[in-house]
Each structure stands twice: as structure tokens, then as C-alpha cells.
């Protein structure tokens, strides 16, 4: 089929509203009778709450309610994604810096703030568990009360889960060279430019939630469960988020607001400050100990990997992050023997959640540097050693699982070519190259409803979220091509569980495949209905009717437009055609991660950079990112996402990390001291390359995109830094100071980031 809108850089739907300021995000919504909520938190991570005196706070005019644990049911209602572990408000003890102990709702934000500042909390600070070492220490305090972990053999530890994967036999595998190292990956936060926002209204008919949530259906499920309501009484309205990156996937303060709305009879609104977003969401930090065996020709013989991830006090989605990413810890390589142990640990730190890459950047950081070290020690080219070990298309590089689904060699070669691998380098410069891989969704369901209206315009109702990646646009492109209607006639309705049917989530780069696939099927069903209609009108069989791109061809060759046929079929009474599209992948309880991945997101990143040896500063001259996407439904969107992912990757590579003090407080809270890349931090040249071999499970052979560009940036940059300076650094970020210290072999006498 020739492509129409698909495959072209069609203009972004919603772009016009965004450049004119008309786009309404959650914080822009006006509910006139809404109360403004402010949270009360303590200046430390862990404290026993002795007493909360709200009397002075109540004196502030306009205050309508002040909630503490005492105002909530006993036992404290808890919620979460896979475990109902998070309390609506801290009860007895706070578990992280930023966990609310009270919340005020008032007529104005000023009144709420003044009252919040007047809430007097008597507390007793307790020693917090803040790092991997402490979390593994049997003598350390338990973050989670064992009473909340019944039937859990690990309940008397801070280990929540252990994930083990193995194939072959690592213990008997021989190798000419064994390299063993420990790598660390820091705490970083999403820092979407839109802080999270929530409004919850409650009345006899149920609860309505407006949230910047990426996954409205997950929020609906959790709200229904924690409030004890039927799903049909919980409506989630999700305006397009202003960036999310995984940080807006899962419920945060919506349950609290629901209780406050029920108590006051008024909608309750909370928009987080940027600082509060740092306290609410972050990536899992990790320590990865990796022992890799190589033959003298660079072939991998075994991988023995042990990783510890620090989740914070509540699991959220992090157990899944860790289980799924560790399953792929050995990377896109042929590895005959592997043993992987990953632990999900609790700590008194801000809670982690999903973040772009879903645990795989942490592993790629370790894995790719092992490859580089082997190349150095074996005097091999770093590109060569990867080509030697990369899985070939169709190979089960994880035994029994989805085989390599792309020509990954092509991506690697194109990256190498684009960076000029092997060409002479000016003094002071280095080149690096790395690969990254992530599994897509392993299960899920995407329902879509297509309503073909009398005049040929189409409603497409989907639960997907458009947070900048352009889901609305590509679905429009697909429908426009499939039904032969102009893009302007397609109206994609998202973000309302009352209107759009179930979509599992907008994550794992799954939407093109899952929702795109669902919508394709919905279009196919619509076309079947039109065939039935046309057949009835003509007195022939539906199979004899052809429909292609809006043109209906009858037996005998007569052609009519699809709209004309539909109108004829619906007649004077009128009406519409309705079809349901469905893409489902059932969970496989016997599979270690619940199912085989539908596809892999594979990326090769190559950089050329310069290091100022005297200051440790890095200047990236060229950054190449190659994505194996199957089919780019909208090439402009793919490139945009990859460029954004690349720069976000440079963030944790060069400058980003959350710093905690001994009280467990985030020291660099806010934009002043948590630095993300600006226009001046861009590589001098950034090139995004798309490999399209039509080998994905999605529409037109598409896979997913959006995360790949970030996965192995850190390793590629570190590789180039080593190439330029000779120093090897196994911790992130590679700040100028850290590089300088490594070059000058200065061990820090005072702790500094």
C-alpha cells in the first residue's frame, strides 16, 4: 500500500494551541469553587510523628479543612500500583523528605500556605536508611513495617524483591579474561517543565479526578480500590501532560485530595511546586556489580551481574522497573552463560518510579563500560568487540524469549559511519560508541472506539496520553490513511475515562504498536461494516466489495466514495458507524517478566568530544543517535523524540544528580542547584538517524520509539572521555570536577558531589 499521511512529517495535532498559549494543562483549568491545597512536610527523611497541632492553622480565614492521619480511616488506607503500601498521609512515621504529614485546603492558595506554615508538628528524627549499603545492612532499621508485608519471607529485611535470571552455567564457564567492576548510577529526577497537578471532586455520584497522569486507567483502578468505589463511578480526566517521561504514570496525591473533597464537599486542587516534584518522583538509583568473562578474541563467555536498586519507602512501579530491566541486563549480545540477581531495596529516600528507559540505562552504563574495558585489555577496537558479540536478527539472545527483532548491526554501522569511527582525531578529543536495549510491553490492552459520522468525519476515542510524543498525530495519520478521510476530519479524543475506552498505559514506547494496532483493527472493522452496507445496497456479497483509502469499488468496477456509501446506507434516518479496535496481549504467568516483549527498542549512540584536562569540562562536538524503529509513522516526531532523549541522557551523564544530606533531605532541591541541560549544553552537532526495516509488530511494521535515545548515552560519553584522557570513571554524573579528580587522581577529602 502506498503511504499517504503515514511516513510523512505531518504537522503536530495540538501544535497550534501550544504555540498560541491556548493549550490547557491541569494547572490552567478553572474550577471556580475549588479549594487550594498545601502539604505540610518535615525537614528530614524519617521522623516519628509525636503530635500535630493544627489550632493556629485553623485560625487563618478561608481554611476549610486540615487533614492529618487522624482524619482518615483507621487502619490508614493505602494504595499503590502492585502493592497497597502507600499511606494517604504519613501515619506514625514519615518515610522520606517530602512525605506529607498534613494537608490544608483553603479558599485561596495564600490562605492554604499561611495555614500550612502554622501547623505545628512535634517530631523526633530517626536514623534513616539512605543508601544501598545501609539498606542491605541487617542491623539497619526497617523501612517498611513487617506487619504490612504478611507472607513475605523478606519482610524482616529492607529487600522487597529479588529477581534472578540465569541460563547456561556461569560457574563452570571458562574465560581467558575476567573483568569485574562496580558501577553506580545516581538518583535523578524527571523535571518535566510542567509540575504535577491534580484536582479531585467528589459527590454522591462518584469521584472525578483531573490529573496530569499518563495512565488514566491505572489511576482509575487505584482510586476505585482505595476509595471502595465501582470503576464506573470514578472518572479520570487527563489533559495532555506537559512532559512526563514516566514521572506522571502513577497515583501520587489524588487519593488524599479525594478524601479532602469528600470532607469539604468542594473540589480540591493541588499543583506541586517544582521542588515538590523532586520529592515525589525520581529514577531508581543503582549499584551494579558485574563480572564478565571474555575469550581472547573478545567473545563474551559469561555475564555475572548483581544489581541493587534503591526504591524508597513505597514500591510504586519500581519492582517492575527492576524485574524487567534486569531480565535484559546482559544486553543485546550473545551471552552463552548468564546469572543475574537484582534486588529492589527500600530506603528512606524520595520514592522512585518509572523513568524513561525503565531501569535499562542503569545496566547499560555498567555493561557497555565492561565491553570497553575488555577492548582495551585485549587491544581490540571498541566497535569491533561489539560487532563480534551483537545478537543477530532472529537469534534468541535470551533463551526462550523474543528473538532479536532488528538488524542491529545496521544501526551500529550507521552510527559508526556518522561519527567517523576510525578516522584520526584532533588532540584532546575522544570518541565513544555504545548500544542500548529495552524491552517493550510484555502484555497489555489497548481498546479504541471509532465513530464514523454521517458526514465522513471520525471520532477516535483512545485512552492514550499525548504528552509531547505526538500520539494524537500519528493516530490521526493512521486513521486518515486507512479510511481515506482528510486528517482535519479526524478528531482524536483522549484523556477521559468516561469517553475513551481502556488503554493499559502510555509507557514502554508501546502506543504506536498497541494503540496504533488497535486503531488499525478498528478501521478494518469499520471497513467491514461499510462492505456489509454496500453489499446490501447492491445485492452482492461483502467479499466482492473492495475498499481502499476511502474508495469503494463494486463488482463491475463502479467506484464511490466511502462517505457517499455510508450516507446511502444510513439513509434518511441517519446515524453513524461504530467499531471497536482491540489489541490485547495476555500476561503469561509462567514467563519471568509476565510475557515475551512485543518488540525491543534498540539504540546505538556515538559521540565525539573534547575534554579540557585542566578543568575537567567536556564539550561534545558531535552526538549521533541511531534508532531501529521498524517504520517511522511520523519521521519528524521520531527524530524529535530521539533528540530529546539524547539530551535528557546527557543530563544524567554530565550534570544531574539529587544530593541527600545525612538527614535524608534533598540538598539541591529546585532549579537553582539541580541542573538540566540548556541550549548552551547541546552538542555542537546532534544527528538523529532512523533505521526502518518494517520489522516491527505495529502498523506498517512499526516498533516503538521515545526511550532508545537515552539508554546508552552515559556509556558512550564515558567511553569517549576515556578515549580522550585515559581515565575510567564508573560513577555518574561526569561533572567537570569528577573528571578533573580522575585525571589528577585526587581522592576527595571532603564529600562533595
Amino acid at each position: 500500500m502506498t503511504t499517504g499521511n503515514v511516513g510523512r512529517p505531518a504537522g503536530r495535532i495540538g501544535g497550534l494551541d501550544r504555540v498560541t498559549g491556548r493549550q490547557r494543562y491541569v494547572a490552567d483549568l478553572r474550577l471556580d469553587d475549588a479549594l487550594h491545597v498545601k502539604l505540610v512536610t518535615l525537614p528530614c527523611a524519617r521522623a516519628r510523628i509525636v503530635d500535630i497541632d493544627t489550632s493556629k492553622a485553623w485560625e487563618v480565614p478561608g481554611v476549610r479543612t486540615i487533614f492529618t492521619a487522624a482524619d482518615l480511616p483507621d487502619p490508614m488506607p493505602r494504595y499503590g500500583v502492585h502493592y497497597d503500601d502507600r499511606p494517604v498521609l504519613a501515619v506514625g512515621e514519615t518515610k522520606f523528605h517530602g512525605e506529607p504529614v498534613a494537608a490544608v485546603a483553603a479558599d485561596t492558595l495564600d490562605a492554604a500556605q499561611r495555614a500550612a506554615a502554622l501547623v505545628q508538628v512535634q517530631y523526633e528524627e530517626l536514623p534513616p536508611v539512605l543508601d544501598v549499603r545501609a539498606a542491605l545492612d541487617p542491623a539497619a532499621p526497617l523501612v517498611v513495617d513487617p506487619v504490612l508485608r504478611p507472607d513475605d519471607p523478606l519482610a524482616s529485611t529492607n529487600i522487597r524483591r529479588e529477581f534472578r535470571y540465569a541460563w547456561g552455567d556461569v560457574d563452570t564457564a571458562t574465560a581467558d579474561l575476567v573483568i569485574e567492576n562496580t558501577y553506580t548510577f545516581p538518583m535523578v529526577t524527571h523535571f518535566a517543565i510542567e509540575p504535577h497537578g491534580f484536582v479531585v471532586a467528589a459527590d454522591e455520584s462518584g469521584v472525578t479526578v483531573w490529573s496530569s497522569i499518563q495512565h488514566p486507567y491505572i489511576l482509575q483502578r487505584v482510586m476505585a480500590r482505595v476509595l471502595g468505589l465501582p470503576l464506573s463511578r470514578v472518572r479520570v480526566i487527563a489533559p495532555d501532560p506537559g512532559g512526563a517521561f514516566g514521572g506522571k504514570g502513577y497515583p501520587k496525591f489524588e487519593p488524599l485530595l479525594a478524601y479532602m473533597a469528600m470532607a469539604t464537599g468542594r473540589p480540591c486542587r493541588l499543583v506541586l511546586t517544582l521542588e515538590e516534584t523532586f520529592q515525589a518522583v525520581r529514577r531508581n538509583n543503582a549499584e551494579v556489580r558485574i563480572r564478565t568473562g571474555f575469550d581472547s578474541d573478545g567473545t563474551i563467555r559469561f555475564q555475572d551481574i548483581e544489581a541493587d536498586f534503591l526504591m524508597g519507602a513505597y514500591v510504586d512501579i519500581s519492582a517492575r522497573v527492576i524485574s524487567k530491566s534486569s531480565h535484559l541486563a546482559a544486553g543485546p549480545y550473545r551471552v552463552p552463560n548468564a546469572r543475574i540477581l537484582a534486588r529492589a531495596l527500600h530506603s528512606h529516600t524520595p520514592p522512585s518510579t518509572a523513568m524513561r528507559g525503565f531501569g535499562t540505562p542503569q545496566f547499560s552504563w555498567a555493561l557497555e563500560q565492561q565491553m570497553d574495558e575488555a577492548a582495551r585489555r585485549l587491544d581490540m577496537d571498541r566497535l569491533e568487540i561489539r560487532l563480534r558479540n551483537l545478537a543477530r536478527k532472529g537469534e534468541e539472545f535470551i533463551p526462550g524469549d523474543t528473538p532479536a527483532d532488528g538488524d542491529w548491526f545496521e544501526s551500529v554501522r550507521r552510527a559508526a559511519d556518522a561519527i567517523g569511527w576510525g578516522e584520526p582525531l584532533p588532540d584532546g578529543r575522544g570518541r565513544g560508541l555504545a548500544v542500548g536495549i529495552k524491552s517493550s510491553a510484555t502484555a497489555g490492552a489497548a481498546y479504541s472506539i471509532l465513530r464514523f459520522l454521517y458526514d465522513g468525519s471520525v471520532f477516535v476515542l483512545v485512552g492514550t496520553s499525548d504528552m509531547g510524543q505526538g500520539a494524537r498525530t500519528i493516530l490521526t495519520q493512521i486513521v486518515s490513511d486507512e479510511l481515506g478521510v482528510p486528517p482535519e476530519a479526524v478528531n482524536v479524543v483522549m484523556g477521559d475515562t468516561a469517553a475513551a475506552p481502556f488503554d493499559y498505559s502510555t509507557s514502554a514506547s508501546r502506543s504506536t504498536v498497541f494503540m496504533g494496532g488497535s486503531v488499525m483493527r478498528g478501521c478494518a472493522e469499520l471497513k467491514d461494516q461499510v462492505r456489509e452496507m454496500a453489499a446490501r445496497l447492491r445485492g452482492c456479497e461483502p467479499e466482492e466489495i473492495e475498499i481502499d483509502r476511502g474508495v469503494v469499488t463494486f463488482p463491475g468496477g463502479e467506484q464511490k466514495g466511502i462517505v457517499e456509501v455510508v450516507q446511502e446506507g444510513l439513509g434518511a434516518v441517519g446515524g453513524e458507524l461504530i467499531a471497536v479496535g482491540l489489541m490485547r496481549g495476555e500476561a503469561d504467568p509462567n514467563h519471568p517478566i509476565g510475557g515475551r516483549p512485543w518488540f525491543y527498542e534498540f539504540n546505538c549512540t556515538a559521540v565525539e568530544l573534547e575534554v579540557d584536562r585542566r578543568t575537567g569540562e567536556v564539550l561534545i562536538h558531535k552526538h549521533v543517535t541511531v534508532a531501529d524503529v521498524g517504520k517511522a509513522i511520523n519521521p519528524q516526531h521520531v527524530e524529535s523524540q530521539d533528540e530529546g532523549a539524547a539530551i535528557m541522557g546527557l543530563g544524567h551523564t554530565l550534570m544531574e544528580h539529587l544530593v541527600l544530606d545525612e538527614h535524608g533531605r534533598i540538598v539541591n532541591l529546585g532549579a537553582l542547584d539541580y541542573r538540566i541541560p540548556t541550549t548552551k549544553d547541546m552538542p555542537l552537532e546532534l544527528e538523529s538517524i532512523i533505521v526502518e526495516n518494517g520489522d516491527g509488530p505495529g502498523p506498517h511494521g512499526a516498533k516503538g520509539v521515545g526511550e532508545g535515545g537515552l539508554l546508552c548515552v552515559a556509556a558512550a560519553v564515558a567511553s569517549a572521555v576515556t578515549d580522550a584522557t585515559g581515565v575510567v570513571i564508573r560513577d555518574l554524573p561526569l561533572t567537570p570536577e569528577r573528571i578533573w579528580r580522575a585525571i589528577n587522581e585526587v581522592t576527595p577529602s571532603e564529600v562533595s558531589p
Binding site: 517544582l274 530529546g644 541550549t679
Partner: protein, 158 residues
């Protein structure tokens, strides 16, 4: 103690407004809450992210760092004031054409800063563009298309 309120007059996007504002409210607060001009965004609230960039008396400033009372008598332009009835400004048009818009949250501030640059420098180098936009954070785009959009708008203007 309650904050003092004052009556101020603002001209916003060509329209006169007479408002009673609390002295501690920022220009950003007043634009968004009193005038329902929600195109200007709040993110860091300390002048680091540029999401709240507006024009005040011909200068690009962070509205979160201007008290509303300081803006008394001033002429303000927000993102809502850039396009006319019939067409977008060259910068807005260029942002759309270059695919520089993703989630869109940084875009109003970014567009305001870009427009300000082009008024003072109609042929900026790439380095000058990067410098001029360095006070506007974006987490989606990687900046490349944003910079290209500004170049495109500059070319269109010449």
C-alpha cells in the same frame, strides 16, 4: 497580618486592566489567576526555567520575579498577544513548521524569548540563538529543532 492590596493598571496585550492585587502576588500570578491568561506558565518560580517569560515594556523578563505591583502602569505582552486574528507571528509559525513543539509547556516562554532575540538581532548566529534561549528550559526537545525554528523565523523575516 494580611498583605496590603493595591490598585494597579496594566496594559496586557493592548488591553487596559484595572486590578486590585495583593502586594506579594507576582505578575505571573495576576496574569494567570486574575486575567485568566494561562498561556504563561509556572514551573520553577525562581527565574531559572523561563516558562514564565513575558515582555514588559519591551524587555523580556521572568514574570515570576516581578511583583504585580512593580508592573503598575507597564505594558505587558504575553504569548496570547503575539498572533493576530488572521495569522501567527513568524516565530510561532516557524516553531510549528520545524516540529519544535512537543509537550508544549516550555513553548510560550521559548517563543517569547525567540521573538525578543529577533527584534534585537535579525540575523543571529547559532551561538547567539543558544545564548538567547539559555534561560528557557525544555525537557522534551533537545533544543535542536527549537534553534532551527528561530533560524527559520529569522530567514522569513529578512
Amino acid at each position: 497580618m494580611t498583605p496590603q492590596t493595591m490598585n494597579i493598571t496594566l496594559v496586557v496585550n493592548g488591553q487596559h486592566h484595572s486590578l486590585d492585587v495583593a502586594v506579594h502576588h507576582s505578575l505571573l500570578d495576576v496574569l494567570r489567576n486574575d486575567l485568566d491568561l494561562t498561556g504563561t506558565k509556572e514551573c520553577c518560580a525562581e527565574g531559572e526555567c523561563g516558562a514564565c517569560t513575558v515582555r514588559m515594556d519591551e524587555k523580556a523578563v521572568n514574570a515570576c520575579l516581578v511583583l504585580a505591583v512593580e508592573a503598575d502602569g507597564r505594558d505587558i505582552t504575553t504569548i496570547e498577544g503575539l498572533a493576530t486574528e488572521d495569522h501567527l507571528s513568524p516565530v510561532q509559525q516557524a516553531f510549528l513548521e520545524e516540529g519544535a513543539v512537543q509537550c508544549g509547556f516550555c513553548i510560550p516562554g521559548m517563543v517569547m524569548s525567540a521573538a525578543y532575540l529577533l527584534e534585537h538581532n535579525d540575523a543571529p548566529t547559532e551561538e547567539e540563538i543558544r545564548e538567547a534561549l539559555s534561560g528557557n528550559l525544555c525537557r522534551c526537545a533537545g533544543y535542536k529543532r527549537i534553534v532551527r525554528a528561530v533560524q527559520r523565523a529569522a530567514e522569513a523575516g529578512r
